[in-house]
Assembly symmetry: C2
Homo-oligomer: 735 residues x 2
């Protein structure tokens, strides 16, 4: 009986996907023909839009970008410090000078600063570790006395003396390998190299396996000499370079750990730190490869498998035995201020917002992360300001945000979204993020599927500084040649799409779109130019690095500013928001029918049926909505009707939010995407169902599948409403 039913489902789905694909292709090609590559505009308005965009794209320049970055990287400016406040004030003043309505919004977050960090080998011999990053002669910033010792933010204080076990990347799979080799980490200090997963996952897994403490290090194989020449001879991590970073469990919820789901205002009700689920439980500290080599080379026990061997010049061993380490961490936890900068360029309608953002807090100088994005976004802001000064008024309000506290835990954006969630859900058409905006010449992006076409279209309009052809063409060629993961950065480079389009990832986590997308259902995208980058979260991510490796001529910064501006202007000026719902529905069908259905066990098949039905139905609704939107985009519309349609278009995404969130992590409400509970930065598609499947947890699977089906059904209904509104607007326009 199962077989028969199953074939029935497959037949139904295939039919739905096929219809949707045909309609989607028709819609895309139709749109492109009508508007010369600019979607969402009545043909009569395309020329004006193109002219406006070209005017904007002429403004950003290398000199401004470089000067911005030099200012932003002039001192270390960690979140929660007065230096971060100074950056926020400077940014606010910049936007005011551009003609924006800019303000600083302050929150109060639970934030540590390190007071004492001791890491030392005690056996076989006493030797101080936790050595600082070595200053570099040609790069004076690296000897700045204000640099805070490297630490993992949100590590608890603690003191441990224990033998060490090497756990490779510290993933679930790695702990399974250890167990199968008879190596136990209980009571031990585990030594994990960075990579593969978010460090907060490493901390959680170390705790789950009852390790006493965690030491993280950057293996030269991963983002040092194994990748290429090391700083200052090349862009990769030198032996003394340390990756700082947060270990807060953003996989549970980002933002201030004491105020999940609500804004961290002074008056907010707070959890006791001991009760905060996102706070890690075991002492954790990052060290450099030099110090790690001292521990690793002393480890005895079995030699590790080949894929565990890193780039240090000796055979790695699991331990324990051979090396014992003493760690003492004293962290000064306090309520510390977070300074978000919110700058608005008011539009004709203040009810519709296009939001752009990047964080401004940095681990040290933060040239690439986040300064390159900030310097570029500032140029976008300056260009928009100049357009406004020359007489243009945005159709919608453009909101540019520079977040604080991203590094400790995506705090500034999360708190602001939590504070303004319902207003954002009413007004925000989309959120456009950049973070490490430029660390090389290769464009990369992630986005929710309805925004991918818009992003690709915008990339066709901007010239790539290196090739002289469009960013789109360069991106497509590079992606085809280099599909696979780029080391050292959080953004994944997905495999090239079969369609021949350059790939755009799903939104994972690790930057400020998280609260917008995962928690508030605002359509989002993230973009930047990437390259060889081994100085992530180290003192070496500074101006000299950028000037010699990341973007020596500062040509990619203005290119990014042009891209951000082009996307912003299209979203801002569009008659009908150019959201590609059929593409979205197609991805959902692909995940639901091809991936999830194939992975499910026989006994759980039935649980999936409502979701499979809903996904098939969504494809048809998406196609209908798309057709209806195409039909109204050819002619001027009554602004009130258009606004009604656009609000409905933007709000489709919110249909994917489950009111109670994912099982076990209610803050994550989006049923289609979330950072994996055990993967970290990278996105898991249909995360509730997928993770229940992985655990063979039938009860949760049923619950999540129902939640998914309900969300897809809600989205279908909203898309049907979009179609209805569009048809009614078209009728009203007299066609």
């Amino acid at each position: 009986m199962l077989k028969t039913r199953f074939r029935g489902v497959r037949a139904r789905i295939a039919a739905g996907a096929c219809v949707a694909m045909i309609l989607s292709l028709a819609a895309i090609s139709g749109g492109a023909q009508d508007t010369g590559g600019i979607s969402g505009f009545a043909p009569a308005r395309v020329a004006a839009e193109r002219q406006l965009e070209e005017k904007l794209r002429a403004i950003p320049d290398a000199a401004h970008a470089e000067s911005n970055l030099r200012h932003l990287t002039s001192e270390p400016h960690m979140a929660g410090t007065e230096a971060s406040h100074r950056v926020a004030e400077w940014l606010r003043d910049q936007y005011r000078s551009f003609g924006f309505d800019a303000e600083i919004v302050t929150y109060s977050a639970w934030l540590p600063q390190p007071r004492e960090i001791t890491v030392e080998l005690t056996k076989p011999t006493a030797r101080k570790l936790a050595s600082p990053e070595q200053p570099i002669d040609v790069d004076k910033d690296t000897s700045d006395k204000r640099v805070t010792p490297a630490f993992n933010i949100y590590s608890p204080s603690g003191e441990v003396t224990a033998p060490v076990v090497y756990v490779n990347y510290g993933t679930r799979e790695d702990y399974r390998t250890l167990a199968s080799s008879g190596v136990h980490v209980e009571g031990k200090i585990v030594l994990a190299r960075y990579g593969k997963s978010y460090r907060g996952i490493k901390a959680k897994l170390a705790d789950e396996h009852k390790a006493a403490a965690l030491i993280l290090f950057s293996d030269p194989k991963d983002d040092g000499s194994g990748a290429g020449e090391t700083y200052p001879n090349g862009p990769w991590r030198p032996m003394s370079g340390i990756q700082r970073g947060s270990i807060i469990y953003t996989q549970l919820y980002p933002g201030d750990p004491l105020t999940p789901g609500v804004a961290a205002t002074p008056a907010a009700k707070r959890l006791a730190p001991a009760d905060a689920p996102s706070l890690p439980r075991i002492p954790t500290i990052p060290i450099n490869a030099q110090d790690a080599s001292v521990i690793l080379e002393n480890l005895s026990g079995e030699a590790v498998p080949a894929e565990w061997q890193g780039g240090l010049p000796f055979t790695y061993h699991f331990g324990p035995g051979g090396a014992e380490v003493h760690m003492k961490l004293v962290m000064d936890y306090q309520q510390r201020p977070i300074y978000d900068v919110i700058a608005k360029l008011h539009g004709t309608s203040d009810d519709e917002w296009v939001v752009l953002g990047n964080h401004h807090d940095a681990w040290v100088f933060g040239a690439a992360d986040p300064g390159s994005g900030t310097a570029s976004l500032l140029e976008t802001g300056r260009a928009l300001g100049e357009l406004a000064r020359s007489g243009w008024k945005p159709r919608r309000t453009i909101v540019i945000c520079h977040w604080d506290g991203e590094e400790p835990g995506i705090i500034g954006s999360t708190e602001w979204v939590e504070a303004n969630r319902s207003e954002l859900q009413k007004k925000a058409m989309a959120y456009i993020n950049t973070d490490v905006g430029v660390n090389g010449p290769n464009f990369g992006a992630s986005a929710n599927p309805s925004l991918k076409a818009l992003l690709r279209d915008a990339a066709r309009e901007v010239e790539d500084p290196r090739t002289g052809r469009s960013v789109y063409e360069t991106w497509r060629e590079h992606a085809a040649a280099f599909s696979g993961e780029v080391s050292g950065t959080a953004r994944q480079t997905p495999a090239t799409d079969v369609s021949g389009e350059p790939p755009i990832s799903a939104l994972g986590s690790g930057s400020d779109y998280s609260a917008f997308f995962d928690h508030a259902g605002i359509p989002s995208m993230d973009m930047g130019f990437t390259g060889d980058y081994g100085v992530y979260h180290s003192v070496y991510d500074d101006f000299y690095w950028m000037k010699h490796f990341g973007d020596p001529k500062f040509t990619y910064h203005p290119a990014l500013a042009r891209l951000l501006g082009t996307v912003a202007l299209r979203l801002d000026e569009a008659d009908i928001l150019p959201f590609d719902f059929p593409a979205y529905a197609l991805e959902i069908e692909h995940v639901t029918t091809d991936r999830i259905r194939r992975a499910v066990r026989d006994e759980d098949e039935q649980a999936l049926e409502p979701a499979l039905d809903a996904a098939a139905k969504l494809s048809i609704s998406a196609s209908r909505a798309s057709q209806a939107l195409q039909a109204v985009s050819g002619a001027p519309l009554d602004p009130a009707k258009a606004s009604q349609i656009n609000h409905a278009v933007a709000a489709v995404e919110q249909a994917f939010l489950a009111p109670d969130g994912l099982v076990g992590r209610p803050w994550f409400q989006h049923v289609l995407y979330a950072p994996g509970s055990y993967t970290g930065y990278s996105s898991v598609e249909e995360p509730g169902v997928t993770e229940a499947l992985e655990r063979n947890d039938s009860a949760t699977l049923r619950q999540e599948a129902d939640s998914l089906a309900a969300a897809l059904t809600r989205a279908s209904a909203r898309l049907d409403e979009v179609a209805r509104l569009a048809q009614s607007a078209k009728s009203a326009a007299g066609e």
Copy 2:
């Protein structure tokens, strides 16, 4: 005209070589048939010799060897210290207990001890280097407080602050590469990795290129992780391991630098240190790979060629630039005592000696170097003592020597040979050396060609502990499978001989046979079992290392004792010394006609002619002598006649000594072999001619070729005298 003459020479030589080869083969096979693999004995005496040897080989055992080594490695015992005196006294007492006539002979050498060693990075940042070797938990000796900081003995005191240039192995070829890349080392600190040449050559070349100082380091690629697992997980050098070592110019003369050619007695006339040619001129210090990595990774400039890249995890650069180092070395130079142990087991004739030796001084604990050889040789001594106690009296006097001061500059043996040169030239039939006697299971040896057959025959009599077959068979198979150089040790593994015999190298330098062979013309050999050995001259060359890697069951130590004893007994008991002159002549002809003659420029050809003639003549004399010796070996001989023959046989080697030595280095008198002036440990054949050829120095070439021709002619005359004595002895014996 040149062509015609040349063909004439070739024809003449080929004829000589051919005759010699045929005669040589006849001699060898004849000898083997007559005496069952034991050459030099009258057939009637072979059985007794075999019985005696078997009795001797039954005595050495693992327990004694291990106990010897445990005692010898119980404390660091560097030459010139009271600890070295304690070892000498213990050794003397051991031999006395075996029944030897043992004494300590003391010399006074110019020897430094380090008083202050500072090496620190000053740019880009201050960082202390010259870190000590890291103690290892499981190996308590490594945390011994008496370990002297690592240094290069005979470095001058000095203080330098300068940029660093990486010079690869610091060979002549490497400096040419630097020059062709436009990198100059004048006034710089040069950083060279160990390997390829003796470190005293590196020091001399650094000085010749006007470097201000030299830092030596062990690259993990060479004898660390690039070779295999590092200590204590494996036998190779860990990152913190340092190779100490002398940089005295033993290529000019070994021994006390202030008394070249004469014994360093208290009354000896001494050079002023400033005038001593063998003393290095620029401050030199060894560091470990950890410290080297701090310097190397900071070096800027061009990336090095692929063959210069070592095993540290980053791309190496030439420098200068990026790194500046401050070095301050304060050396406490004084006259310090050297304690040789000379132990004699008197024979029936005290006019004929068989000398065996190894040094006893060590850089630190010296388990492999030299303890393994010492522990084994002690077992040989114990075995000989037991044979003597059971009624046997050696035919010749067996002299076992344990030298002091080998590590600083082969001092103890050199001074003793210089003190006793004419007596040795009269009495010593041969010198048998071992040094790093055991650091693995693979037998290796070097010898002058007349002794090679004897050595191979002896190896046929000793069982290899691992294979259960003979050392000879195991050696031959291993050599065939692994021809090439073994890293980390001074002994070369030559390519397998075309004859299918296991290869035996030419005697180079780097151990105590040097004065015997190079300066006094005593036929010599050196042997030991080698293997994976990366702890050379480090604190880790200790008992634990030997017990876990070098010879865990202590089976190779007694095997070496048996080999040394077998060779000694054959030399001691032989009726006619089993020296293979045709083989020697063949090698000389090969070098002279095949190598030298082919390399010579047209204008220098004539200079070679006398040597080519003499070499051809030598082959014929060697064959005749060999035949004559064969003819007398079948029957008992009058002892006085035999003694006369044997003295003549042993003295043939001295014919190869040029009275004035090699041009530019008169201490080296042997015209056939010497350590290369710019290669170090390894031997250069016909060194005077060869090095003059390399320099295109026609004047010296002529002088050296004449010297060579004269030596070969003297040897021919001596061989003719041997033949005459043998024939006359045979006539006298009535056959």
